[in-house]
């Protein structure tokens, strides 16, 4: 197996897409876009990847073209970010509703206004309820690995749902990290060619996307919900296979120094690594602090979440998206709702931070942990607190 080399994460992701041997890549090539599809278009133009590259006039069309490609049984891929994802919103539901497997890299960036496009999770969190499997990478290697895993997961006959692989804009997408790109033979061993079940085929015609009256709509939605919930079991199998072949293990919720920890940071994405450094420093000072990060956001892995936090007294949840006028950010809402039925539940302090590319430093994680512990002592009634807001 090849060794690690320094690569821009976007380029590494496009190499993973190439190794996944995709048939169709459709993408809007203009801002907000990344080097992922730019590099893929080069790979196709140079003959290194035999695939149809469809440059389209909008992200709405990019995802529509991917839907069309998946509908005829092709392995389809697209990538977007920020406003581009927002423009795909309508088609997100259609991809999952038609049960078409495909993979999309979402390079997480803020939504306007103000025009920003720096990193936060407001783009994907607005797509939370679209019926897609949603995974979050914390570094370049995970971005590569999750991309390969995503195809296998999406295409499993028990799943047949689209997968969004999320990675943080700029702080991951545009940085150079040491990444191991596997060889084709090993990837082929892990990821077999896609065998579509139902597809558009002149020999065996079907209609896709017909209307569903009130008599049938609920049953179809129930089916999607069950498929999404059931995909977690398949994800575990995919991760087990991946671990056997590639030697790297993945779990829906990852724990870091949770043993004996009284307070746990709850994070997602690349900030998790900074937060781990903060945990190390706090541990050195004797603070009983740990961290969990959520890799599988949809379906939400409730059982693994309860298991991971079972010893904690306080959770400091870090949300990088705002739900204006609500009870908290998306992760905070999920965590609090999940814990509602539990008799013995930890105190949850929720922090909104890192919006629109504002740096989240080790010091800020320490500050959140300190605040969470303090608020827990008085059981402060706190919906959420925005961190680092200038008051004057």
């Amino acid at each position: 197996m090849a060794g690690r080399k320094g690569m821009e994460v976007s380029i590494a992701v496009s190499e993973a897409v190439k190794l996944a041997n995709v048939d169709v890549i459709s993408a809007y090539p203009i801002t907000p876009q990344t080097h992922i599809v730019e590099h893929l278009s080069e790979l196709v133009a140079d003959g290194e990847l035999t695939a149809a590259f469809i440059p389209v006039e909008s992200e709405h069309s990019a995802l529509s073209a991917a839907v069309g490609a998946a509908a005829v049984g092709a392995r389809a891929y697209t990538a977007t970010a920020s406003q581009g994802l927002a423009l795909m919103h309508e088609i997100m539901f259609i991809a999952s509703g038609l049960r078409l497997p495909m993979v999309m890299t979402v390079v997480n960036r803020a939504l306007s206004t103000p025009i920003n496009i720096w990193n936060d999770l407001s783009d994907i969190m607005a797509e939370r309820d679209t019926g897609w499997i949603q995974l979050f990478a914390i570094n370049g290697q995970e971005a590569v690995d999750l991309t390969l895993q995503a195809f296998k997961l999406a295409e499993d006959p028990r799943v047949l749902l689209p997968v969004a692989v999320n990675l943080d804009g700029f702080v991951l997408s545009h940085v150079i990290e040491p990444v191991e790109i596997p060889d084709q033979e090993t990837v082929d061993r892990f990821l077999p060619p896609y065998k579509p079940g139902i597809r558009l085929d002149p020999e065996n015609p079907v209609s896709m996307g017909a209307f569903g009256s009130p008599d049938v709509f609920t049953e179809i939605k129930k089916q999607i919900d069950e498929a999404l919930i059931g995909s977690q079991k398949v994800a575990s199998e995919v991760w087990k296979d991946f671990g056997t072949i590639f030697g790297r293990t993945y779990k829906p919720i990852e724990s870091y120094k949770t043993k004996g920890a009284e307070t746990l940071l709850v994070t997602m994405g690349s900030i998790s690594e900074t937060a781990m450094s903060a945990v190390d420093l706090m541990r050195e000072k004797g603070q009983r602090v740990g961290l969990i990060h959520i890799r599988l956001w949809r379906p939400f892995p409730f059982k693994e979440f309860f298991q991971a936090i079972r010893e904690a007294k306080v959770l400091a949840v870090v949300d990088r998206a705002l739900v204006p006028g609500g009870a908290g950010g998306p992760v905070g809402l999920e965590v609090k709702a999940a814990l509602f039925d539990k008799q013995d539940r930890p105190y949850v302090a929720e922090f909104i931070a890192g919006l629109g590319g504002r740096d989240l430093t080790v010091e800020i994680f320490s500050e959140m942990v300190a605040k969470a512990s303090r608020y827990a002592k008085t059981q402060k009634e706190l919906r959420y607190e925005m961190i680092g807001v200038r008051e004057k």
Binding site: I198, V216, E219, I220, K222, E226
Partner: protein, 98 residues
């Protein structure tokens, strides 16, 4: 309201609500959505040209062995396109009783 013949339990519903049986919209009888008018053909004026059959958006007309066209109350929505397109003004839209 007309019902589709077979309503599946969720586990048996076709994946992605795909339709694998060609022409099964026929089973979905929407004639009871009709506005309270229906076509009536005067066979004295009818020249059997088939314009009503061609233009009907619901394909509610069927050809009879004698060359005239029958109207189906199971599909007709009372739009009146047949009456409008009939070159001999042989079709009238008439009020239906409740």
């Amino acid at each position: 309201m007309a019902k589709v013949d077979a309503l599946h339990p969720w586990k048996e519903a076709p994946l992605g609500c795909v339709i694998s049986e060609a022409g099964n919209a026929r089973k979905f009888k929407t004639g009871d959505w009709r506005s309270k008018i229906r076509p009536l053909t005067d066979q004295e004026k009818c020249i059997k040209c088939g314009m009503c059959w061609i233009f009907c958006p619901e394909m509610a007309y069927t050809l009879r062995t004698d060359g005239f066209y029958d109207w189906s109350s199971e599909y007709c929505k009372g739009c009146g396109i047949c009456a409008r397109e009939c070159p001999k003004e042989a079709i009238q839209m008439i009020a239906e009783e409740e």
